[in-house]
Symmetry: none
Amino acid sequence: MGEKSELKREYILKKAKVVFAHKGYRAVTMKDIVEACEISRGGLYLYFGSTEDIFKEILKLELESGSEEGSGNLSQDASMTEILMFFLKEQKKMILRKKQDITIATYEYMFAHRGEKDSTEMIRTQFETGVMVLTKIIQEGVERGEFYCANAKAEANNIMYVLEGMKVCAKTLGLSERKVDEELLYLVSGLVMEE
Amino acid sequence: MGEKSELKREYILKKAKVVFAHKGYRAVTMKDIVEACEISRGGLYLYFGSTEDIFKEILKLELESGSEEGSGNLSQDASMTEILMFFLKEQKKMILRKKQDITIATYEYMFAHRGEKDSTEMIRTQFETGVMVLTKIIQEGVERGEFYCANAKAEANNIMYVLEGMKVCAKTLGLSERKVDEELLYLVSGLVMEE
Amino acid sequence: MGEKSELKREYILKKAKVVFAHKGYRAVTMKDIVEACEISRGGLYLYFGSTEDIFKEILKLELESGSEEGSGNLSQDASMTEILMFFLKEQKKMILRKKQDITIATYEYMFAHRGEKDSTEMIRTQFETGVMVLTKIIQEGVERGEFYCANAKAEANNIMYVLEGMKVCAKTLGLSERKVDEELLYLVSGLVMEE
Amino acid sequence: MGEKSELKREYILKKAKVVFAHKGYRAVTMKDIVEACEISRGGLYLYFGSTEDIFKEILKLELESGSEEGSGNLSQDASMTEILMFFLKEQKKMILRKKQDITIATYEYMFAHRGEKDSTEMIRTQFETGVMVLTKIIQEGVERGEFYCANAKAEANNIMYVLEGMKVCAKTLGLSERKVDEELLYLVSGLVMEE
DNA sequence: AATGAATGAGCCTTCATTCAT
DNA sequence: TATGAATGAAGGCTCATTCAT
């Protein structure tokens, strides 16, 4: 597979992502993707064998790009509160995002493949990474005297569950930006020293 | 449709619930349910017109039965801590339940019908009821001097998001009983006075 | 079968006729008729074994009632022109009739059973009766010097074909009352002496 | 869809026409056509979405081919009587035709879609064209002194109704060639001067 | 690499007909 | 007589997947 095919793969994934964002995971058919890509049925099969294959790939790219973002843009002498706020702001974006949002498809994918270790591995890793990052932030904050927290790890887990809860609520019940802000504020206010 | 058919309706719902618990919402076909019920194709259509109809009914019964449970079994002089623990223990059961568990199907149903107000109404109500109940418990606990909490409503919301987060994690990433216990303990420990 | 059942038969036929008038012949199902009659499925089968049975019966009654009408209401010293006009006016009613009109159903029935001698017998008889009646009218008119016609039988046939043609056109292409009047007038004007 | 598929479309239409000729319009199922064509169910749906689509197409072709025929084959110095006879002979063919005859299907189609303007448009046009052609023939015949007719338009309409009447009688009651000949002869004899 | 026609399995839905009550 | 639940056949439609070109 030369460069050219690699470009086509990416093209397909880009178009397919839109489809998954619209229709979720289970409802998407190879036909949907073929139509979105405006290529032939056979053509698609040269690159991907099933909607599952395609979605896995999209999900992988999504998670990779996600982990890259988290890093940059913060001046090195930022306070831990600032860093925490930044982390939460990123999460807020994901919770409220509408365009190119494959959250629902991802949940459906995981429901469909629950029990298959390697299908959910990526997501589990992402969650655990979140816990780790938060733990570090909180610990550092405590050490610097910015935060008060008796158990950083537990608090980190707690925050991650809250975020996950809001994510799923946003996609099912709907969630206003105000509600998200209130909740995130509450989380932070539980940590910072003035408590 | 007399008494007899009412029994059959219930029979179908019972069998169908097992199917939805196994396969989620979208993957379930009328054929699946016909086979689970060991009745004829046409026979099923006498009672329900689609998997959606059937699932809606199951969901309604589920939520109704859920709201009935919450009430009883607590002596009237129970401490608010005991009442909170009871509430959380019920939630824990739902988070970890394996048999007859239509959690995944319910999420899929909501994804499939997001945006349709009346389809998600029941669930939204349930969530809001949870918030209200928790708020009352916390307020009463604060008044009695059992709990410390500056903002009962916000804390109640926070707890509900955590519970939702754990519910969805349990169905996707998997969640051990120990993890759930740890988290619930952490939630309670954040409220009780010794803090 | 007592009186009571006879009444029920008639009730069913009355209700079924409305259904056939609405939906034609082929599209009508036993279910349609059951619903129109507001009786049970099994109940209908006690009286009729199929939509064909029912329609045959309706058609028989229709044709019988039709032949009764033709007779009355003309003073015995009416001119042949008047009698012819009366005949054509009756035909016109049938061509333009909208309510309780089973013309389309009848055509569909005959198409479905073409080749079965006894199914179409009634209709053939009706047509031939029409030819005979017209022939008599014309002959008598010629004898009385009211009409001019070299071949009464051929003219009668001709008129019957025109009527049949207008009937089918009315049900397919649509036909205004004016058009029918023009055509009937043309037919009569071809007969009366002033030609 | 290239040339090849166009061939297949035509192949399907050819086979389907036989089915419609045999079974009429309403009774024909996609399965019938699939079997007549010896292709797969899905294969048929690549070309046509319903029996209605297929029949519409067949009808269109039928009417187009019909209008082409009428033209040629008459020497330019033919008498109007000859031209009229030719026209009627063509009609006679259509009235008595047995093979590839979709007359019944066409009536059923119109009954099923009565009231839908564009579904019946083609047929209405055909009828009106018939009237126009006949009117011209008669007028010309009168001018040349071959025919006697006080009202060409009315006579043309009259003839068209007769033809329609015979067509529908042929498909319902049955009509012998002799009967048709008698009637057509009577029509002509009513026009030519010797009257 | 790419096309898109073709296949056949599978689900949805409706109906005529039966039968226990 | 009358009911209406139940059955199973039949037809509609869509989709994943293959394959000749």
